[in-house]
């Protein structure tokens, strides 16, 4: 045991940061006596930590905790040497028996989740980091002992998210606090209720039905027109219907900013609160919509009402659909005579307080992205469609029995992907713009988690961090990382027959880096 720590002692102080120099110098350094050994160990590890891009904030505390480790156990045992061959064996054994190597190196759908994962990892490792550095009790000085409360950050986190968690709060309807318990407000409120349900609602319903009837009569007539003009009139019809819908909840929508003139290669993206987003936006101009294939009433509308809009419906859970959608999208935006493409990169309805992760699909196409920020005013009614507790007709009923739906819509400056940006970064930049304009809180969670369980990888990554911390305390080497990127390093260390500065490496990678990347470099590469 304490393999890693002892190997680090081979290095003179101050050299551990550069692996090449550490390798060369360690070959000429002899192992110092035991008492100085620990000091050297501490120093080298420290230097590695300081030289790594770690925030200065934590370093003093890290130092002290490392001193504690070192001081408490002066006898370090030089352990067996790791040769490349047993390294490879270990790696093979790992890949075959756990299958985790596969999970890490398989790129399918992995990149989508990176943003949350990284953010979340940082959170967890932050806790570990604080915990490790804050330790000042005797049980932690004894390096040979596992601290029973090492798991405290995880326990706390688990209990904390039972009380409240960042994900579900994005999908919670606003709680209504009654404010009208007052001798004159109360009767007026009930008068209002009566008016809304028994006068306003029937009028609105009749208007809506008439709108539909009109639509059903006019729409077939458009097929008599020559093909060139047909789609323009069909779009007008759809817009008319959208207006009727908006009137049915007395929508008061303020549009800010002007979208750029219609060109090829444009995509409109908006934050998503309810299906009524579509109506609110359609009222102003027609769009082709990319979205989830629904069931029931919504499916009917998708098929017959919006049928002329060259929409793209797909099933968000079918990976095959997603692939074909990407190519359809690309085709669609090439032709400027198509209605502009509108999509909701969140992929699910959020309560209009938060914005969840933007899927990067729309940002992959090298198109100009026009962000639309939609903010509903909750003063009369919460426009969030909470599909778990309401069907869409119920949602519409609620809107139609409210005084009115108030919303602001901002068309923001068109954005293009910067050469230095990945699609994911571009997506999150656009998301931040929308959040800022609409005053929403940006959350890194993937909205699809509403429908699917999180990937094992997320848990796996957390275990990895815990494992690294644990092994660090016991001065053991981490198991080889599954990626091939480790191999060159192994060869370099093999030259001097020591796995020098490995623990320090692992830790600068696993929990010392402050750039938000918590996974060690080799893992990131393979993701």
């Amino acid at each position: 045991m304490s393999r890693g720590a002892s190997s680090a002692t081979l290095l003179p102080p101050g050299d551990a940061s550069d692996s090449a120099s550490s390798v060369s110098s360690s070959s000429s350094t002899t192992t110092p006596p035991a008492s100085t050994t620990t000091n050297t160990n501490t120093n080298t590890t420290m230097t590695a930590l300081v030289d790594a891009p770690a925030g200065g904030l934590y370093i003093p505390r890290v130092e002290s905790s490392l001193h504690q480790f070192a001081d408490s156990e002066p006898q370090l045992v030089v352990s067996e040497v790791r040769t490349p061959s047993n390294f490879v064996e270990e790696k093979m054994a790992k890949n075959s028996s756990w299958g985790i190597g596969d999970a890490f190196s398989r790129p399918t759908a992995a990149e989508e989740k990176d943003a949350i994962q990284r953010k979340y990892e940082e959170l967890i490792s932050e806790e570990f980091r604080l915990q490790l550095t804050r330790e000042n009790n005797p049980s932690y000085k004894r390096k040979t002992q596992f601290g029973f409360l090492d798991l405290a950050p995880l326990a706390r986190n688990a209990v904390q998210c039972l009380v409240q968690d960042d994900f579900t709060k994005c999908f919670e309807s606003a709680r209504r606090d009654p404010w009208n318990w007052n001798f004159y407000l109360f009767p007026i409120y009930y008068l209002g209720v009566f008016f809304r349900y028994f006068i306003l609602f029937p009028i609105r319903l009749i208007c809506l039905i008439m709108g539909f009837v009109l639509f059903a009569l006019v729409m077939p007539l458009t097929f008599l027109l020559p093909e060139a003009r047909r789609s323009r009139y069909q779009q007008k019809c759809v817009q008319l219907l959208a207006t009727v819908f908006a009137m049915s909840w007395t929508a008061v929508i303020r549009y800010h900013g002007t979208p750029p003139p219609r060109r090829a290669n444009q995509i409109f993206v908006a934050n998503h609160t309810s299906l009524i987003d579509v109506i609110v936006l359609m009222q102003e101009r027609p769009y082709s919509i990319v979205g989830q294939q629904h069931v029931g009433v919504v499916a009917f509308c998708q098929k017959y009402v919006l049928g002329s809009m060259r929409n793209l419906w797909f099933d968000r859970m079918a990976a095959k659909d997603r692939a074909t959608v990407a190519s359809h999208l690309h085709e669609h935006i090439q032709d400027p005579t198509n209605p502009p493409l509108l999509l909701f990169p969140e992929g699910t309805c959020v309560n209009n307080e938060y914005v969840v992760m933007f899927k990067r699909g729309a940002f992959d196409l090298n198109a100009t992205v026009i962000p639309i920020a939609i903010k509903y005013n909750k003063i009369f009614v919460d426009a969030f469609w909470n599909s778990r507790i309401q069907s869409f007709p119920q949602h519409l009923f609620r809107l139609m029995t409210s005084w009115c739906v108030v919303a602001d819509v901002w068309f923001l400056e068109p954005q293009t992907k910067l050469p230095t940006e990945s699609s994911t970064q571009f997506a999150s930049r656009v998301k931040e713009l929308i959040c800022k304009q609409a005053g929403l809180v940006s959350v890194a969670w993937d909205g699809y988690l509403k429908h699917v369980k999180p990937n094992v990888r997320d848990k796996e990554a957390r275990q990895k961090i815990f494992a690294h911390n644990l092994l660090f305390r016991f001065g053991m080497n981490p198991k080889p990382a599954p990626a091939a990127a480790v191999a060159p390093k192994a060869q370099a260390t093999a030259a001097t027959s020591s796995s020098s500065s490995r623990p320090a490496d692992a830790h600068t990678g696993a929990w010392m880096s402050t750039d938000g990347d918590v996974l060690p470099a080799e893992d990131k590469k393979s993701l």
Partner: protein, 178 residues
């Protein structure tokens, strides 16, 4: 308590207030939360409902946490149990309760002792595949050996466990803001 009406009766409220030390407002909020988590409206949470919180599902310790809530191992947790376990995480809760909670996290087979097998299971859960069996065994052996100070029977009783944690600041480690 079983299936519940949609609100707490004043009697239940005052009873819970007494046993858990939460304020009525906290209880109401937690009750609201409990009902939100209880997707099938049975008045109890099963492990699927717990794990529907993505953040919890990603937590390697989740199975143990759920097990501590689910005292009867019946895969259902009613509001009383839910509240009682949460109450351990109040900042002003006694040390003893917090140590007891930690002990229950480790006592997988619920026999009143933390045996090497228990510790192995918990550690395995926490580190997954990233620590080799050998290393794990070393860690477990040395941990048990050092902590097994009273009767040297190769497993940890509650007093032995508490002894290890006697200098630990439990309040800062096992408390959250409600």
């Amino acid at each position: 308590m079983g299936a519940k009406p949609s609100t707490l009766s004043p009697e239940e409220l005052s009873e819970l207030q007494e046993t858990t030390g939460f304020t009525p407002n906290q209880i109401k909020r937690l009750y609201h939360r409990f009902k939100n988590l209880d997707k099938d409206n049975t008045g109890t949470l099963n492990s699927d409902e717990f794990l529907a919180i993505p953040e919890l599902a990603m937590n390697p310790l989740a199975p143990r946490i759920i097990a501590v809530f689910d005292i009867e191992k019946a895969d259902m947790v009613n509001f009383g149990q839910f509240l009682r376990v949460l109450s351990v995480f109040q900042a002003d809760r006694s040390r003893e309760d917090k140590v007891r909670f930690a002990f229950r996290l480790y006592d997988v087979d619920n026999d009143g002792f933390v045996s090497p097998a228990d510790l192995h299971e918990v550690l395995k859960m926490l580190v997954g595949v990233h620590v080799s069996e050998d290393q794990l065994r070393q860690i477990i052996d040395s941990t048990i050996q050092e902590a097994d100070t009273i009767d040297h029977d190769g497993k940890l009783s509650f007093p032995e466990f508490a002894e290890v944690l006697k200098t630990t600041d439990m309040a800062s480690k096992l408390s959250i803001a409600f």
